[in-house]
Amino acid sequence: MSRNLLLALCAIFLGGMALASLGADWIAPYAPQEEFRAHPYHPPTRIHFFDEKNGLSLFPFVYKTEMTFDEHYRRIYTEDKSQRYFVKFAVPHLFNVESPGRVYLFGTDSRGRDLFSRILHGGRISLSIGILGACFAAALGLLIGSVSGYFGGWLDEVLMRIAEFFIMVPAFYLLLALRSALPAKIDPLHVYLLTAGMLSLVGWGGMARVIRGLVLSIKQNDFIRAAKSLGRSDGSILAGHVLPHTLSYLAVVVSISVPSYILTESALSILGLGIQEPYVSWGSLLSEASSVAHLELHPWVLIPGLFLIAAAWCFNVLGDQLKPAGESHD
């Protein structure tokens, strides 16, 4: 596969996923919290175009399903073929079927919530938290690294020892410690911001060190001396002539660190320490998949993981592509 095709596919996937998440209220057939108690762990609904009575149909339709148990108490869903329920498009959702017919594209979870709808809504958090976390970390790293590199001396020593502490401590344990230091019950929306904040708090150290190195080399340039001899203040030289030279590095480092932030958030959420109900992220959806028994009986609960892997991989490919663009004119 050619490089450009791969890039285009990644960009289309991420862009499409972002749009779908933003439009989740309309695209998803059900609300993410809507529970169909009669349908726990419903497998992905089969969509039909053909039945024996009426032959081929131009429009897709589904059958109503009934849950029964087999002799091992495993759930079995059987289709009631007496009535067809046609899939309706564009009103009031992108697609929908008349009740009591249901369309679960990716099946349902333990409480009968439609996984497809939840994945779309979860994309809002999973995609944005990585970018947000990476941007927070970059801002923190930029601020501390540039001050440290530009002013040097004892300030440099102190800031860099702090940065090294954050680099040295294993990130995941630091996250767990940070989370446990916070109250257990927080408004779910605050949890979102706090999670992004915590992710950036464990990630800024490395960025700060590199930015410091860049600033050390940039400030050796004669144009810094020239600006200084013109009487410009340190702050304005830093903002005007030093920081612009670090931007290409920052763009690259933000884009290649997004996947790790996405994955760390999902790791926290799988443990129940990240995003909480009523909000969902791909990580919190995957917490359903944490037992082998579920994976064997209801493998579709792993689908959010596929989205997670795809998104992380696409961000990686795009970030890699930025690298040569960020390097100078060669």
């Binding site: 004669d222 144009f223 001899s229």
Partner: protein, 240 residues
């Protein structure tokens, strides 16, 4: 030659942690009004460090410590600095125009400075970026920058060493024109003939210390110190 614009009295500069390395001194020197002082010496002799100290920019370098007395009778804007490498003297991310305007000089001052370096606005676009200019144009823009605030003293640190011979001649011609308007120069170079040609007085430095000072004629014809003899002998000469 009247009063000194800049005076160094027993100036000592050291670098480093623990055992500090002395890079300059003790050094006495003065730069007089309306004079071109050439500072000559090999790489590492402390010429550029002395220049940075004159500009008051040594704080940028870590660990510098100054002993002795530096008298500077000029306001910061009355001294200009022309660094060695014009590419590094201009920020590659900004257009020429915005860099010239950065010092707070108005449009008229910018135009005047550019005209003085023979780059009228018809010849150069203020929107162009440093890498789009030829080497000679770049160096002239840097000189124009130094001229913006009508300085009384220009400190030029190896301004020609990264240029080819024709550009060197062009820049030196420009310096002479500026010099004729009454601007003082500190001209730092390891090129003895170039300095002897341009300067009123030469100061030879080695290992951070002053070896000898005198007019170009004295230094070239009658060097007193062995190191100066060596410098004079090693500089290229035409035997016609």
């Amino acid at each position: 030659m009247t009063n000194a614009l800049i005076e160094f009295r027993q100036v000592i500069l050291t670098y480093g942690k623990g055992e500090r390395r002395t890079v300059i001194g003790p050094l006495d020197l003065e730069v007089f009004e309306n004079e071109a002082l050439g500072i000559i010496g090999e790489s590492g002799a402390g010429k550029s460090t002395a220049a940075l100290e004159m500009l008051g920019l040594l704080a940028l370098k870590e660990g510098a410590r100054v002993a002795g007395e530096v008298k500077n009778r000029l306001a910061p804007r009355e001294i200009s600095y022309i660094p060695q490498d014009p590419l590094s003297a201009l920020d590659p991310l900004f257009s020429i125009g915005s860099q010239l305007a950065e010092s707070g000089a108005g449009k008229d001052l910018v135009r005047e400075a550019l005209t003085r370096v023979h780059l009228p606005l018809e010849k150069i676009s203020l929107q162009s970026y440093p890498h789009e200019l030829s080497g000679g144009m770049r160096q002239r823009v840097v000189i124009a920058m130094a001229l913006l605030h009508k300085p009384r003293l220009i400190i030029a640190d190896e301004p020609t060493s990264s240029l080819d011979m024709t550009l060197q001649a062009e820049v030196m011609k420009l310096f002479r024109q500026i010099r004729n308007t009454g601007v003082s120069f500190v001209f730092i170079t390891h090129n003895l003939p170039l300095a002897a040609n341009f300067c009123d007085r030469l100061l030879v430095m080695k290992n951070g210390k002053k070896i000898e000072t005198g007019t170009p004629a004295q230094i070239m014809e009658n060097p007193r110190e062995p190191y100066t003899c060596q410098l004079v002998e090693s500089s290229p000469r035409l035997h016609l």
